[in-house]
Symmetry: C2
């Protein structure tokens, strides 16, 4: 079979790419085609610069004085305010803090505090597991509270909505299949049922113009270490719509969420605005790396990011189906742009071994049970030529059955 | 008044100090006498080395592969196992994770899960505020639960113990006065009342041989950024005695606490041992700095640390009282070794201004409302000569009323 997409076409795509200059902002190892930015984004040069500054100067020389002089104490809000634009929020609606799991816990409790007469939480049984686990944890502490899982208790979220539903926790993009939800439409349905919408943006933030405020979202959470490139385990974020400020409560009431954290009162008084979403002292070194990572985004047009994301995934789907379709790979991602995130999964009965063979050849994607080969396409540092090269390597591995080598058989845990 | 402690005596103390070589393991800025290691420890050279390795090599070059190849995923347990020796615990009883505030929340819930028929939490009304705030948060979610504060509802913890008390949260060393509790004795009284003891080690870990297991402590929490020098906001730790493993539960049930975190089950099953104290993805860069900071401790004899801590604080108390006693400074720390932590507070009506003047002269301590000047003495990098020099500067500021300069009057927030 000859390909219908030739090298000239691909070169032209890269030449016309308005984001092509951004690749230089990252450290990309030689010989690596990195299709796992949906799991851990690569190192932005600005993050390394800020991290060194934070360690050598701010900590090493400034010591305790840097809590004020270097703005450490305000990092959750200053980074949150910068991140706000990327998810369609206003400054003052977002803080970077803690982990996605813990922020889910806060957001679910905050939602329950706004719907005192209702006791049901809906989550997605096929979503990222920690979302469900945290919802179980919330339910375990509240007598009468119940958890219902879409995809398990009923096919869809809409089938579970009812008078007792307080809150729906939903993934904007599914971590396994890459399916994108219509945030405005689903939020409207959740609100029509009298419930609160909590959006998990882990797999959409940094790949498109997320419109939390326009969509009417109530709360949102997400991580910063995937497409936002904040570093391994970088502090997560949590959003609360301004209309809920001063009204919601959550039980992780630590001193960073206090109205006067340095008055050392012996009773908790929640701070204004988004502040009650804060709890304890944050990991400043990780936070300063995140701050550097956000520098890369300051001049980014998110419409260009989304357009390139769709073009990269279109190209990948077309090339894989054209060159590799006869080797048993099956698309497990939406063909429609409106339903597609920035990742593409293909299923293959030997997906695990195929992915190991790809990684050995420098094409880094990841594998999710039972048979999903998952490829993320981050528009800031990926070239169309990378997509072409990755598919050529995949073709070689499949056509020559390289994946059958015994070294690819053993299952190891990967995140 | 002539001092009874002359320069020769102090030089001899430094010469005989078995820990004197450890100062070289730290970055101490020129012109600084750092008496605030009880708030933020200085930069260990090994922490900087590990941080650069983590950023440049593990993240920059290893990318997603470092979750396994660099041991990132296991850092909470590997760092916890190394920290265990410093607090008198066994490997497998401690993890480094999240923040002290959040670990308090977990430990209180874990304690409540072991005492289902009891509803009262006791905390210290004059302890570090976040301890009380987190206890308030726990109580806010549990119908019937009550919080009683020693120092407010009754003079002492012992006065509040009774049949309904499930758990007592107590500081090993008071953050303001430096008073050290007898852990074994108080734990015994708490147990005699049928309750669970949760110890906050923030101000004792790294200054003495803490004996959690010998004292029979049930749970413990603490931060790693004070005397352990893990870096600003470094991940905190949480301890659960082995006899409680497999029996306690806490509601922050994230995927890192799951029995099979990579199986991506849709129902939570807690992991073995200490593992259910884990929740979400940890800030790896901050965690790797902590890992480097722990290198400094590997060959440390904690008896030597405690002996030097007491000698440094003895010297400081003696010199301040001798040279500065007539200027209105009053000791607010115990004279008895058995009751003293590694910090010494003096009260002064103009303590805030005096502390600002000290900081300007390079003597960094801190201030706590209403009038506490707080000085921490970390045996790993402080010299007896530093104590002598610090007191000389304090004397100059008090004798010449340098603190009256208008620039020292304005209150600013410091952590």
């Amino acid at each position: 079979m000859t390909t219908t997409i030739d090298a000239g076409t691909i070169a032209a795509l890269d030449e016309r790419d308005p984001l092509r200059g951004k690749r230089d902002a990252f450290v990309i190892p030689d010989g690596v085609i990195y299709l796992d930015g949906n799991s851990l984004g690569p190192l932005p040069k600005a993050a390394l610069r800020e991290l060194k500054l934070a360690a050598e100067q701010e900590w090493g020389q400034g010591l305790i004085r840097s809590w004020n002089a270097a703005g450490w104490f305000d990092l959750p809000t200053t980074t949150g305010n910068r991140l706000a634009r990327l998810i369609g929020a206003e400054p003052g609606e977002v803080v970077c803090t803690d982990t996605t799991s813990i922020n889910i816990f806060k957001a679910l409790h905050a939602a329950l505090s706004l719907r005192p007469g209702r006791a049901t939480i809906i989550a997605e049984g096929t979503g990222f597991p920690t979302d469900v686990y945290m919802a179980e944890g919330v339910v375990s502490m509240r007598p009468g509270a119940r958890l219902k899982l879409a995809g398990i208790d009923a096919p869809d979220i809409e089938d579970l909505l009812g008078d007792d539903v307080a809150v729906v926790l939903v993934n904007h993009v599914d971590y396994r299949t890459g399916v994108l939800r219509d945030m405005a439409q689903l939020t409207e349905r959740i609100h029509a049922a009298g419930a609160i919408a909590v959006w998990d943006l882990c797999h959409s933030a940094g790949t498109m113009k997320v419109d939390l405020d326009t969509a009417g979202a109530d709360f949102a959470v997400g991580c910063t270490y995937k497409y936002l490139n904040g570093g391994p385990g970088a502090p997560a974020f949590v959003f609360a719509a301004r209309r809920h400020h001063g009204r919601f409560a959550q039980p992780l009431t630590g001193w960073w969420g206090h109205a006067s954290p340095f008055a050392f009162d012996h009773a908790f008084r929640p701070g204004d605005g988004i502040r009650p979403m804060l709890c304890g002292t944050q990991p400043i070194l990780s936070m300063r790396a995140l701050s550097g990572a956000l520098d890369v985004w300051d001049d980014i047009d998110l419409e260009q990011v989304r357009a390139k994301s769709l073009a990269l995934t279109d190209l990948f789907i077309a090339l894989v189906e054209e060159r590799c379709g006869r080797f048993g790979v099956t698309l497990a991602a939406p063909r429609l742009h409106a339903q597609r995130g920035s990742q593409v999964s293909f299923r293959h009965p030997n997906g695990y071994a195929v992915m190991q063979a790809l990684v050995e050849r420098g094409v880094i994607g990841d594998f999710r049970e039972p048979d999903y080969m998952r490829f993320g396409f981050a528009p800031l540092y990926l070239r169309y030529a990378d997509v072409d090269a990755a598919v050529s390597i995949l073709h070689d591995i499949l056509a020559n059955e390289i994946w059958r080598a015994p070294r690819f058989a053993a299952r190891a845990t990967v995140t």
